[in-house]
Amino acid sequence: MKEKAVVQGFTDNLDARNRKGVIWHVLFQVSTVIGIVALIALMLNIINGAFGYIAYEARVDPDTLAVDGTPLTEQSQEQLVTLLQSTLSRGAYNKLENEKPFARRPREEVYQLVLERIIRPEIVGVWNLWPSITDADEIRTTVAQEHPNAELEFVSWLTSDFVSRPQTSEPLTAGVRTAILGSLWTILFTILLAFPIGVGAAIYLEEYASDTWLNRLIQTNINNLAGVPSIVYGILGLAIFVRTLEPLTSGEVFGLVDPTTASGRTVLSAGLTLGLLVLPIIIINAREAIRAVPRSLRNASFGVGATKWQTVWSHVLPNAMPGILTGTILAISRAIGETAPLVVVGASTAISFDPSSPFSKFTTLPIQIYQWTSRPQDEFRSLAAATILVLLILLLSLNASAVLLRNRFSRKF
């Protein structure tokens, strides 16, 4: 533009200001990019760990176990059971028999045991995805040199077997079924506790509560509880559910004690602890959903002479339900990912049996990840990566359904 007539005192600084503006704009964009890069790095890192070459040796050559020319892979369930009986010590065999009689075990399960206890493949090398792709030849030569008897295979640690097998101490045969079921059982109790109380509290605060000091205290209290670190909830759960209420949570009261636990460190305790943790989340979200119900709807109901509860039950709640459900799904997502409180409450480190009652020992997906990440060997890191993928897929589906729910119901109105 043509120059402005010079006004006394003002300097020409437009260029400098624009330059500064550009610099800061770039800084802001770079910050955003860093955030995105961090997310991508996180994802790639996990994928990198969940796939790659492994080299493994069998401690006992399966070929030596062939019976009358029938290789191990084709032997029947009875043949495999006989093999186990003859190879394992009496004590070990009887222990397995007591946990679950061999007659009732399907062939696949018995085969797994043979793999696990007799053949015992040992991992001699693990490589992540990136080195597996870029250094494939180098890996092959190294393995050929150092472990000539080893098999080299490119695997995905995340397979359908991985999801359906129970946890074991052998990395090659380990699966996360125990952990998945543990997570699901735990969440069940979490919701049983937190949903009714949470929605009830939200209804009370939004529809019934007047502005007294007690009600304001309750509100502040809920907001504060939402910010308490999750480990504190774990400590609380340890003291109350695991210890003080042990007769209840271990099932003594009901005569259903898990023979291997006999303590309060059960699925029930875990679920209740997480229930306390997510309660504020459910309350806050439910309140928002209830608050969003238009006044006109309530007025219509009161106008025809309905009582407060009739109005709430027949009009407000149905209208607010999509929002309440979305909030509940958010709470579930949070609970599924929690590790610290459950470690404190006493998740089990080595169980291989699916939870069968509220009073069983438990482990969950995050706990499994934690345990495997904490082991120094590379193969456990890979297992952890695969478990993380399972967890993330689970969370993704949960959140996707929440979004679907929100969209489907918001279109109605």
Binding site: N18, G21, L42, Y208, N224, L225, P229, W309
Partner: protein, 315 residues
């Protein structure tokens, strides 16, 4: 015929009804139930304070433990009866500081970008990404810290400088974890600044940067301060990232490249092992937990008070 009976119905209604208030037992019962639900949360808080307090008291009453020594000595070695809290507290402060050094500048910068610069399309792609970052479980971040950040730091600074377990790695990843939290709270505060204020500044010939940094940010300052305090509270209470990546074993050091155990990491390690009730270790969990609870509670209350008290008047 029908008309007659209708008349009769209303007649009946008129003669039997009166306007006096009916006692509805069902309603009262339900209201009581709902009140109980509302009150339930109080039990949680009371539970936390009572239970933690009781056991913490037991801890301090134990012969090996001296209250003054807890806060003044720098060795935490329960086997030999030393309970100085400083190694744990120091590690917590270090990881929190490192995390905040990442999360605050980046978090606020991203919020300013989203609120003042980005066009709607960019915003709609970025906000979900931030939500995803915020929803990833912390154990996954812990894995990331151990398997990516630590090797990276060791590459950059040298393997002999950076140990396998170190607070820098945990702190940096914690910063990434907290970044979305700060961004979202800051963005809310920035959006609350009314449009007319921005228009006034633009109308005076201010550049976008001048409007953002000299008008909007100062106007949203209390909200930003609240966001930062909440972020700090989160960092102090964070457990799994430090449990996996920062180190196992109290260590009073100022070097971020060595391993050290935070308060939360310590609690997790102790309770993960064999724990007998009423041992010193068991009771120490409660003392530490109580400490954590009060610190984070104070921070959260302060944050809410700041927003309430200094809520800016714009018009």
């Amino acid at each position: 015929m029908a008309g007659l009976s209708l008349e009769k119905t209303f007649e009946k209604k008129a003669s039997t009804s009166n306007l006096r208030r009916k006692t509805r037992w069902g309603e009262t019962f339900i209201q009581a139930l709902l009140f109980f639900s509302g009150f339930f949360s109080i039990f949680t808080t009371v539970g936390i304070v009572y239970v933690l307090g009781k056991e913490a008291l037991l801890f301090f009453q134990m012969p090996e433990v001296d209250l003054l020594a807890t806060f003044t000595t720098t060795e935490w070695k329960p086997q030999i009866g030393k309970f100085g809290i400083w190694p744990l507290l120091n590690a917590t402060l270090m990881t929190t500081l490192i995390a905040m050094l990442i999360a605050i500048p980046l978090g606020v910068a991203v919020a300013i970008y989203l609120s003042e610069y980005a066009n709607p399309r960019v915003r709609n792609t970025l906000k979900p990404i931030l939500e995803v970052l915020a929803g990833i479980p912390t154990i996954v971040y812990g894995y990331f810290a151990l398997t990516f950040m630590t090797p990276l730091l060791r590459e950059i600074f040298g393997r002999d400088v950076v140990q396998i377990y170190n607070t820098a790695s945990a702190g940096l990843v914690m910063g990434i974890l907290i970044l979305p939290l700060i961004t979202s709270m800051t963005e809310d505060a920035l959006s609350a600044v009314p449009r007319s204020l921005r228009e006034a500044a633009f109308g005076m010939g201010a550049t976008k940067l001048e409007v953002a940094l000299q008008i909007v940010v100062p106007a949203a300052l209390s909200g930003i301060a609240a966001a930062i305090i909440v972020g700090i509270s989160r960092a102090i209470g964070e457990t799994m990232i430090v449990a996996v990546a920062a180190g196992a074993g109290p260590n009073f050091t100022f070097s971020p490249f060595t391993g050290a155990e935070t308060i939360t990491g310590h609690i997790v390690r102790i309770s993960g092992g064999d724990l007998s009730y009423d041992s010193v270790d068991y009771n120490s969990i409660f003392a530490l937990g109580l400490f954590l609870f009060f610190v984070t509670l104070t921070l959260n209350i302060t944050s809410q008070a700041i927003v309430r008290r200094f809520r800016e008047v714009y018009e």
